[in-house]
């Protein structure tokens, strides 16, 4: 069997194992899903009137416009939130004896991590679909998006999920316990709070704006907004792709190097 078909075969076996875990113990994924949904409801119905001033065309509060503004950011935040679960489950998994068994078997070396990554990306996408459904239920509408733009949006979500997942896998691998993993992965859910997800960049203090503007979430959020709502994307598209690429490569290198090192 060639190396590639061996890799594909072992990785899909590992993926099946990870999906079995996720299906049998869905509570972690579902708990993490609550965060973006609660934030969506909170920001729309509780803070919405105050925060939406100036977002719609007129000067007053505009709830419908704010829902449209909020949903793309929360879809990406959902990915950040799901990958915390990835870090926790990777860290948990590494304490299991079965990982030592995998390391002493004649299988594709990377398949253990690839199984985690693919399973996590699928869970991220399923979670974003659920959050999008909640968004639609409370009034989110995309009137302008063409099928091609929808496809591009889905592709962006998948790439972003892939990038954050590889980083989360690395965080899980270096964490000695599930608690440590969940702490280490905290930036993945904190970063969206200091992006353009909830309020526009121009409302932030000047010294802070560059940080918010160039961190991974803002370009991805602006690109998603552009694809779904027709707002200008500008250089954010390339910036978002670059971030996805850089984080994927870094996360992959970091994770595989950590996994391939002698345990303990």
């Amino acid at each position: 069997m060639s190396t590639l078909s061996l890799a594909v075969r072992d990785s899909s076996t590992m993926l099946r194992r990870n999906l079995l875990h996720a299906r049998r113990y869905p509570s972690l994924t579902l708990n993490l899903l609550l965060t973006p949904i609660m934030l969506l409801l909170l920001f729309v119905y509780v803070f919405g009137n105050a925060l939406s001033v100036g977002i719609g065309g007129g000067g007053g509060p505009d709830r419908a416009a704010y829902i449209a503004y909020l949903v793309p950011g929360l879809l990406l935040m959902t990915i950040g939130s799901t990958t915390i679960g990835t870090a926790v489950s990777v860290s948990n998994d590494m304490t299991e004896g079965i990982i030592a068994r995998f390391r002493t078997m004649n299988i594709h070396r990377g398949s253990v991590l690839i199984g985690h990554v693919v399973s996590s990306v699928l869970q991220s996408l399923a979670s974003t679909v659920l959050v999008a459904a909640v968004g639609l239920a409370i009034g989110f509408r995309t009137t302008h998006a063409t099928p091609l733009e929808w496809l591009a949006a889905l592709g962006l979500l998948a790439l972003f999920a892939l990038a954050l997942t590889w980083i989360a896998v690395g965080m899980g691998l270096i964490s000695p316990s599930a608690e440590a993993a969940s702490n280490n992965a905290l930036p993945l859910i904190f970063l969206p709070l200091i992006s353009s997800a909830f309020v526009p960049l121009h409302s932030m203090p000047g010294w802070f704006r560059p940080i918010a503007e160039y961190q991974p979430f803002t370009p991805a959020i602006e690109t998603l907004r552009g694809l779904l709502l027709g707002t200008p994307i500008g250089h954010n598209g390339w910036l978002a792709l670059a971030w996805c690429l850089v984080l994927t490569v870094l996360g992959y290198r970091w994770s595989t190097a950590t996994f391939n090192a002698d345990p303990k």
């Binding site: 069997m1 075969r9 072992d10 076996t13 099946r16 194992r17 079995l20 875990h21 049998r24 113990y25 299991e96 004896g97 079965i98 030592a100 068994r101 995998f102 390391r103 002493t104 078997m105 004649n106 299988i107 002698d262 345990p263």
Partner: protein, 326 residues
């Protein structure tokens, strides 16, 4: 060399300043059970981890199933099966799913996979529990599942790291039976244990590992000859009787504060009779008499005392004996 399943020369491993393995040599013929015997912290698990490609050696080289550990680790992995000290099963999924996972990773076809896993579940008495999550299994069941999973790929060399530690006596005997059966099919078993009895029961050859070096190696009989027999322990309450006994029994070593004497003893009825006759002749009656047969403690005293007192720091000699007590 060709009929050695495991051949190691000068294996070393250290973590920081701490040397765990200080140059060990091993030669395990194919189709035999080899036991690495030693106390906690002697380096048994580290040896298994190196030979099973889990970690890399800090020095020396080894061949397992004819393949070099350093240059052909995947070929070694294809020939071995490992059951670690901490059960290497996936607790979140069922026993049957664990078995199927192994069949898939060994690239068995669907039908062959089902045949092999069904046969192994049957053989290890796990059919009833097959559809329960492995985390709900008892210690003995987990070890059986662990070994069943190891056997899916029909390995030629099997590493068992303390397979009976923490098992109740019945499960331990079941495990011994399983290990004996393994070797009848021609596979080689490399077994670590901290129980002399277990090594004696199962192994063709035993190596005693102490402080990262092989202190002795040979057949169980070879090894037993190194053990200085047992002893008879006499305890007194009357200091006069203690002193009289110490004077009469010149071979004995005494502990004045505990009022006890240790008399070397080879375990025979004749030897015991001689001792009792001498006590009677001197008119001495001990308040308590117990016969001690050689155990692992004695092996370690015998094998580690000399270097501990001559060259090594006393702390080095004390550590393993202290650990064997628990």
């Amino acid at each position: 060399m060709s009929d050695l399943a495991i051949a190691a020369k000068g294996l070393r491993k250290s973590y920081g300043d701490k040397t765990v393995l200080d140059g060990i040599d091993l030669a395990v013929p194919e189709g035999t059970i080899f036991s690495l015997l030693g106390p906690n912290g002697a380096g048994k698990t580290t040896t298994v981890q190196i030979l099973s490609t889990l970690i890399t050696a800090g020095g020396g080289h080894a061949r397992v199933a004819g393949h070099d550990l350093a240059t052909e680790p995947q070929a070694v992995r294809a020939a071995i099966g490992v059951t670690g000290q901490f059960s290497a099963v996936d607790g979140l999924i069922t026993g049957a799913e664990n078995m199927r996972l192994m069949a898939d990773l060994h690239h068995l076809g669907k039908q062959e996979g089902q045949r092999v896993t069904a046969r192994l579940l049957e053989r290890f008495d796990l059919v009833e529990a097959a559809n329960r999550p492995a985390s709900t299994y008892s210690g003995g069941m987990k070890r059986r599942l662990d070994i069943a999973m190891t056997l899916v790929g029909s390995p030629r060399v099997i590493f068992l790291d303390e397979p009976t530690t923490g098992l109740d006596p019945r499960s331990r005997h079941t495990m011994w039976q399983i290990i004996r059966e393994l070797v009848t099919t021609g596979v080689t078993v490399f077994l670590t244990t901290q129980y002399l009895e277990e090594a004696d029961e199962l192994a063709h050859r035993i190596a005693v590992l102490n402080n990262g070096t092989i202190a002795a190696e040979g057949t169980p009989d070879d090894l037993k000859r190194l053990i200085p027999g047992g002893h008879v322990r006499l305890r007194f309450t009357d200091p006069g009787a203690y002193r009289a006994a110490a004077a009469a029994l010149t071979a004995a070593t005494g502990d004045e504060t505990a009022q006890t004497l240790h008399v070397p003893h080879d375990g025979t009825q004749r030897d015991l009779h001689t001792l009792l006759t001498r006590l009677d002749a001197a008119g001495i009656t001990a308040d308590e008499l117990t016969v001690h047969t050689p155990d692992l403690d004695d092996v370690f005293f015998a094998l580690t005392d000399a270097p501990a007192t001559s060259a090594d720091a006393p702390a080095n000699g004390a550590a393993p004996t202290k650990e064997t007590v628990r």
